[in-house]
Symmetry: C2
Subunit: 143 residues, 2 copies
DNA sequence: ATTTTTGCTATTAAATCAGTAGCAAAAGTA
DNA sequence: TACTTTTGCTACTGATTTAATAGCAAAAAT
């Protein structure tokens, strides 16, 4: 259990955990689309390779952003769910999406509208809505 | 000028630009510590290698998050400054720091206090303060 | 005129990412 | 019950990115 962080900087420490091209997209799929299984994550538009997906899920589980479990009804499927620590990334994701909408749309002409997903409302309301919605999904999934 | 983004997702698009282990740390050094030169960035506690720093600065300039220029007084030193697009990353950085403070401190026992930097105040006040402070630095630098 | 500083590039090695194939076990279907 | 499909991966190969160090030319400082 050694300290593998580059420095004592909180920003750098976060990047040491989720500062790669995929981790936050997995969290996005869970938070915003309710994805739960390996298969679910495999079919994102960004097409993550199974090897990378596998290693990222392990890493996120090790760092307690997600849990992995099987439900009694299905002994094959692994169910991945965000922990509270993971759910609390919602404000970060919201700010990134708002920045992107405002600043990258000119570069990425294919970018989705964020109004559809309700991101043009009050910032903290949006974030809380996403979080509470997800917490309900967890309840429903685990019964 | 082709579209090199992985998808139309705003989150993924941002990660395509600053989703590596170093870009946001460079923005951090500029915003929070007023760093402006290659040398300044070289001496961060995370010790970025010159080759990576060089390529990241080029990339950030290409994507218009920073500008690069020489001041009349010094024809050797390059001065790197954040554009408005770069300054607007402040809310993202604030949220990441707050998440880290709350959720990674247990893992990274060497983490700095964020109270010292004033991050325990009202969120949008903190962000705006950082941004206005930086805009003033730009003014002072360019005269 | 000499030394130091700055802003890099070059080089090599290591780590990570990406794409495809394939496979065992569980689940679904006939 | 046998067969097919689905799921959740692992293995493999190659490409790309990152990391660490050395070094160097031009400007600035002494």
């Amino acid at each position: 259990m050694e300290n593998n962080f580059r420095s004592g900087c909180p920003l750098a420490s976060t990047l040491d955990i989720v500062g790669d091209k995929w981790s936050l997209l997995i969290v996005r799929d869970m938070l915003l689309q309710g994805k739960k299984t390996f298969k679910d994550f495999s079919i994102s538009p960004e097409k993550i390779a199974p090897g990378i997906l596998s290693s990222r899920l392990k890493w996120l589980e090790e760092n307690e952003l997600i849990t992995k479990q099987k439900l009694p009804a299905n002994q094959k499927e692994n169910i991945y769910l965000l922990t509270e620590k993971g759910i609390e990334l919602a404000p970060v994701i919201t700010e990134i999406i708002l920045w992107s909408d405002k600043n990258l749309r000119v570069q990425n002409t294919e970018m989705f509208s964020i109004a559809e997903a309700g991101f043009n409302q009050d910032k903290s309301k949006v974030t809380e809505g996403i979080q509470n919605n997800y917490r309900q999904l967890v309840q429903e999934t685990l019964g």
